[in-house]
Amino acid sequence: MKILVITEAREGKLNPVSFEALVAAQQIAGAQAGSPIAATVIGKGMRQLAEELAANQVAEVLLVEHDLLERYTPDGYAIALRQAIAQSKPDLVLMPHTYQVRDFAPKLAASLGKGMIGDCVGYRVEKERMIFVRQMFQGKTAADVSFTGAPPWFVSFQAGAFRGDQAARGAAPAPITTVKVDLKAEQIRTKPLELFREAKQAVDLTQAPILVAVGRGIKAPENIPMAEKLAKLLGGELAASRPICDEGWLPMDRQIGSSGQTVAPKLYLALGISGAIQHVVGMKGSRTIVAINKDRNAPIFEVADYGIVGDIFELIPALTEVLEKK
């Protein structure tokens, strides 16, 4: 099967999650002999990024460039990528599930009369059929979804579903092919203006790949900064169980559970959380759960992959020290 990976650039660099999609492609290709991988770079002035991409183990890099692609627009990307697909004729089109992909990928697929299975957490091959796994009911269930009908098939993978740093390097740089993009200004209906940053009022924990959550075991608000520091070191966000937010020690938008947010990050570290069902339903979809609690019988251990029975006031500094050393 031929695979096309659509990469994404951010601020002049390849968005790291694009490599996760590439790893997915390499794994799928590895299992199916004769599966060449092509990868696209789209925008304007992207040659350098194309070369960077070509250093990986791919058969070909497609450079999809046009003046009108300098800023992202759904119209521009959909039209240009359709042309890239017509040229490359892939069976499977893989993308990382970013805000941008959510904005154009269903449109791209539909414009070819095809469907997209988005936000997948994994895949399986069963009797030469590909089955994509995604979550439903906010992570309470998983679903096996397969394509019916002819390719191309469009799939996006959830951030963290694959490890971007495992992308195999190529023996030699892959050839870079230019896709002649036929695009006119009147075809683009969106006028994108400047990007800007803003202090967000509410944090969206559902987008964080790693969460460090504190429960009653944290005992006092003065102890929260050390957990926050640990979260930052891990590259994640701080979260909390209900009682912490009830007390006002953290704002309500940090709450995980049936009356807060439901999350499924790749790593959830539960510190001093007992594991009442109201909390667990909000996080048990997490891929790896680590629990630290003084009480060996705390229900949180029932959903944990790794557990440490111990004092969080000793373990948080210990973990921080290990991470700071690296």
Binding site: M252, S259, A276, I277
Partner: protein, 552 residues
Amino acid sequence: MSPERERLDADVLIVGAGPAGLACALHLARLIRQHNESGGKPELSAEGIYVLEKGREIGAHQLSGAVLDPRALAELVPDFAKTAPLDTPVTDDAAYFLTAKRSWKLPITPPPLRNHGNYIVSLNKLVKWLGGLVEQAGVNVFTQFAGAQLIHEGEAIAGVITEDKGRDKDGRPKDNFTPGYELRAKVTVLAEGPRGSLTKTLVAEKHLDGLNPQVYSIGIKELWEVPPGRINPGWVAHTLGWPLDSSMYGGGWIYGLRDNRVSLGLVTGLEYHNPRFDPHEAFQRFKTHPFVRRILEGGKLVRYGAKTVPVGGWYSMPRVYVDGGLIIGDSASLLNSQRLKGIHMAIKSGMLAAETLFEALRVGDTSAKSLSVFRRKLDESWIASELRSVRNFHQSFQHGLWLGLAHTAAQFVTGGRGLIDPMRMPAGYEEYHKLDGAGAAPPRFQGDGVLTFDRLTDVYHSGTRHEEDQPCHLHVLDLNICVNRCVVEYGNPCQYFCPAAVYEMVEDKGGRRLKINFSNCVHCKTCDIADPYQIIDWVPPEGGGGPNYEGM
């Protein structure tokens, strides 16, 4: 500070869409339709009937065992056997006496526990169905709205003010703040169920109390799905004895439903002596009895709930009519505590109220005198004859099980009179024995997570939700009593009697304070009833909050 309220005017306002409120609405709508169709004047409209329901949808807060005596339903909806969502007719009923390890089936099922001709029902489903009929009849049912305050015009009740919506936890208006509506009505019917908040206020303000204070029991229920063959649909069992001791009033139930479902629970009178008694824990332990365990083993908990039941009976009935107001159903103490059945009386009282209201609207007289006809109708109906025959039942047990059985035997042969008539009884909260230096409290029940559960897990299975950012609806009038007096005298029983783990005494800077997790509240009213100092006032939270008793 009082916000501008929008005003609406109804003919009849019914607070509560339970069996009593809905029966009242349905019957009144019918009487109005028949009246209009036969050219009656003045022409009336079913659209002038408003029903308020604080739950998310009709039926959301309805919970009962339940074994229904269909006599009232047959009057309200004659073809009920075909159209009502009855689960299964009772096929077999038995009474058991339990000790910690054993069970004895009583050779004869005592008459009040005999249920031939009755149906096992889900009150939630029954009420949903009734609600559908009421809406079809053109009545305005407003879900997610509570009656927060009564409106007075002189001596009369002139309607209710619904709750403010969109206040934050400090009471400040949020962006979507919507003040409660001033809902005026010619007659307001209080059908709030056990320990209704408006009923409590009205009875106190106008001194409507009956001879005995109202007394209540708490019912804790779980709905289970069990492996096929464990239980027959229609099997009804009631138990006495363990885990309650002989000084306590109460018992368990297990009903076999269709589709391998089981309804089971434990009812405990809220007049026990030990302030640390935990009714939820007692129910969990009940399930571990071999008799119960063998039914549930391998099964799955579907839903949990708890609600109080008014068991004071005849002599606890308040005056049920005032200028511009009526009280019906559980709020009016219309429940047979011997059979522990109140749904049939709720429905019948709703119908009798409807007849009264129809006349009052027709002639344009909604004074207490005109509405007193309701009391007369109750007295002349089978409600009165049934209630009178058990008028001293619950009161008989205030000195223990064995004395209670002796009294009730005497009452059985004397049509309810018994050895003492009327038997007086204090309110349940006066029955606590002070701790008087009793030792430390025993550790709280955890449950094994398979057969038995802790309260938080159970609350999760009640589907209870509330808007988090709103003022706490549990008003404790003097928190100093909690931390200074109650902790010493009774050990803060709110931590024990609440089946939803709402109340907790937590450490706070060297001392203790009361933490109220109001969002767990299942609206059972136990705290309002059982608090020894009577300083807890339960008021309705923002409408739509509370449990979701689907299938209960």
